[in-house]
Point group: C2
Chain length 494, copies 2
């Protein structure tokens, strides 16, 4: 028997060292989150024999920790968007994805997704995921009810609103309370199994098995303390999440994310990405991450302004909470405050989670400025410029939309403390393997690595910029592009 | 004969496919810049047989495009530092390197370099590089004379001055005019040849040759249209520069650098990094780059203030030009201005290169604000807060040192246009392969890849953060850690 006991993700095992295949299949899927489940469903339904290896003892992965929202639209809109009065043109969804994709958006993925998103909604329904036909117009992070449609991004905010007609696109499943990701994953996992996927739990991928041209032939998996060699006749699909829990990788690739002390993940140790890199898989945007302090609702808080350690504003506060937070962690210094007056102030519904506390209160902005220890006229002039223009419904510095503009001139005033080293800034990584829309992994020269696929946060997909993230984008990307990989593999000849 | 015509950097050639070695040596060095030359010198002098392959038709690489400055000090200071009145403790150099290394400095390299930098100066002298015993106290980018010692970083600026006793450490060679890198490289190249290095020009590395455990055995090189297999009994050292000229790689890894329209490089197509990644080499900080608009001298310009598109300051202007520029390209919007009054204004000595032009002039800051189209009281309040504190010799917002503080209150006033999409912002990349101080390349699990080394900008070394870059750091790192790789390989048994 081959000795594979020293195998590690960053170095592939030579197929010439394999004397015996313990298991054989067409398709190997690594990880049972949304990407892995969706890959398995399509590959198995397409006639391929599929084995799925999950390191945990149950399905779900990090997808199950989410709110279960999917970012969906285009093609005129989903029935739920339409019922709420929104048409959603494919081109508007495409432009929004391109604008929020940062300086290096993936046009091919954005195009395919914009055109296929409505169909994907129908597919999700067909998997047994239910959606209530309802719409929440107010700002929220995710519904605490079983309602569906929410504004889950920066669609109405500058600069996005001017480049793409806004529509709410966050579709939350019919699940009472927060955390609907668990419900979504139960349905997808059930379908994967029903389609014929052979699932192995407590099975950790330890290394790819490749030939001497770096064509991937299989996977070494550790089960019950033994490393088994699994032959994948068609391909291995890496759906093992991101790397936010691997602090060494975060330090090497996304050091700014070290500022967030609340990584969100299940395993997310970067093993999927490391497996891909071991055979020359290229990466994209390894420095990028989603980071957020969930500072609203209620929406009235959006009428306040964020300031940094210099008393300066830094973003239009009507953006999605993650976009605001992305800019907050880019600021020099750890101190961030949210300024409110008597008319706009409310206790954030998220304040216990977010750890947002009153940092200063006073009857004048001069008093707040002094209390925060800021230089004379720093905070005061920031508020003064803001108020002068807000009175006329404009924000020439940061372009907050008129509906959120109101001079902060009704005492008492407060500064809510959102210090980065104290408040709750959650994070996960957005960088990953460079894939085609089919999930095929490329090397740094742009060549496809035969037999290797990736989806979900192991790949760099639609959610690729902390500044442009929208809730529901990661789960939508994982399930949609997981499906593309499954479909591709179902049609790959032996 | 083996057919290697389809080889590409991102996929290694299997040693089992090699039927014949065209060339055999102990050490293969890829690239004839400062890192490659220094590696070759030490390896050859240590008794190893060294072959060096350079894609261009002459030595020099991107090192030859530089000013030739080396960032040197510690151990009490170089003789030139001492003659200028500066002691420079090893610990101060170490702390400075750690503080300027960004959120993820490399403590092992900083320590080794701080302790060995003075010896390295002596070594450079021994290679025939001459330094005039002279010091320029005034701010400059690099001497236009043949003078030596300059302030080439942010040593005296906040926050560095408080963590490490400042000393000037930029050592420019005795070469009349700018561009001393060519002179430095001539000496190093001469020594490499004299030490017995067999140099092949017009020889492009096309792929690593590795065994089925990804141990590097040699290199495939294209010379005169033919791909030759070169056996490296001890190791291959990748010294092929960064990737600023490979715009696809810049887009994937360092998209912010796309804002700079003036990449500085010779070849710098990322081929060295791609070769390393092909066998699982890990990378570090691939998003980082050096970017600069060389906006001074004269030093009086440092008494002005930079503002962004919102009329806000964003940095203490007494930092090194590259640190100021790094923060400039992080700002939202393309518009950056440098504000001066009648007392501080001077035509920048670099203005032709830097493309800095007068954007607005007026007798009051209100007039400048209007002329620039900035919101009422935005620029004016920024200047007002600055002036109020500058009058007392303090800068509580950004901590510019007292010697550069003067209220900007003597009309006429000007705003010098430093727009990112118009002015000269030069750039090169700082991310690269993850190496030990010996140059050994690690994979993403931290394991050493046998037979593979890297130095210079193909590795991620001391210069690893655009915010912390100092002139002379890249050349010092390339030559010093190139030497370490050469020494290691000279002592590696066959």
């Amino acid at each position: 028997m081959t000795d594979l006991s020293h195998a590690a993700p960053s170095c592939p095992i030579a197929v010439s060292d394999i004397t015996h295949w313990d298991l054989e299949t067409d398709v190997v899927v690594v990880g049972f989150g949304a990407a892995g489940a969706s890959t398995a469903i399509e590959a198995a339904r397409g006639g391929a024999k599929v084995m799925l290896f999950e390191a945990a003892s149950a399905s779900g992965g990090t997808s199950a920790l989410s709110g279960g929202e999917m970012y969906l639209g285009g093609s005129g809109g989903t029935p739920i968007q339409n019922a709420a009065g929104f048409k959603d043109a494919t081109e508007d969804l495409y432009q929004y994805l391109m604008m929020t994709g940062g300086p290096n958006p993936d046009a091919a993925k954005a195009r395919l997704y914009a055109e296929g998103s409505l169909d994907h909604f129908q597919w999700l329904l067909a998997q047994g995921i239910e959606y209530k036909n309802s719409y929440i117009a107010e700002r929220c992070i995710e519904p605490s009810t079983d309602d569906c449609l929410i504004w889950s991004g920066s669609e109405e905010a500058w600069p996005f609103a001017s480049g793409a007609k806004p529509a709410p696109r966050g579709h939350s499943p019919k699940y009472l309370g927060m955390g609907g990701g668990k419900y979504v994953m139960e349905q997808l996992a059930k379908q994967a199994v029903a389609a014929g996927t052979e699932v192995h739990y407590n099975a950790r991928a330890v290394a790819l098995i490749a030939d001497h041209h770096q064509h991937v032939k299989g996977l070494a998996v550790k089960i019950d303390g033994k490393v088994l060699a699994v032959r994948a006749h068609r391909g291995v699909v890496l759906c093992a999440g991101g790397f936010i829990m691997n602090r060494e990788m975060v330090k090497r690739h996304a050091p700014l994310m070290l500022r967030s002390q609340y990584p969100i993940g299940s395993i997310d140790d970067g093993s999927g990405i490391r497996l891909g890199m071991s055979v020359g898989g290229a990466t994209v945007n390894m420095h990028e991450g989603f980071v957020t302090i969930p500072w609203y609702p209620p929406g009235s808080l959006v009428k306040g302004i964020f300031i940094n350690n210099q008393g300066q504003r830094f973003i239009n506060e009507d953006c999605y909470h993650g976009r605001v937070s992305h800019h907050a962690i880019q600021q020099a210094g750890d101190r961030i405050w949210l300024l409110q007056d008597n008319a706009t102030y409310a206790v954030s519904e998220m304040h216990t989670l977010a750890r947002m506390e009153i940092g200063a209160a006073g009857d004048s902005w001069e008093e707040i400025e002094r209390e925060l220890g800021l230089p004379h006229n720093s905070l005061v002039s920031t508020v003064s410029v803001y108020n002068e223009y807000a009175a006329n419904g404009t924000d020439p510095l940061f372009h907050k939309a008129a509906k959120w503009l109101k001079p902060l001139n009704e005492p008492p005033f407060v500064a809510i403390d959102c210090r980065i080293d104290h408040a709750f800034y959650a994070s996960f990584t957005l960088g990953g393997l460079d894939t085609l829309p089919t999930g095929e992994v490329r090397n740094e020269d742009g060549q496809i690595i035969p037999g290797l696929f990736a989806a979900g946060r192991t790949a760099c997909g639609l959610p690729r910029s902390g500044a442009g993230y929208s809730s529901g984008l990661s789960l939508a990307d994982a399930s949609f592009f997981g499906r593309q990989a499954g479909i591709k593999l179902a049609h790959t000849p032996l």
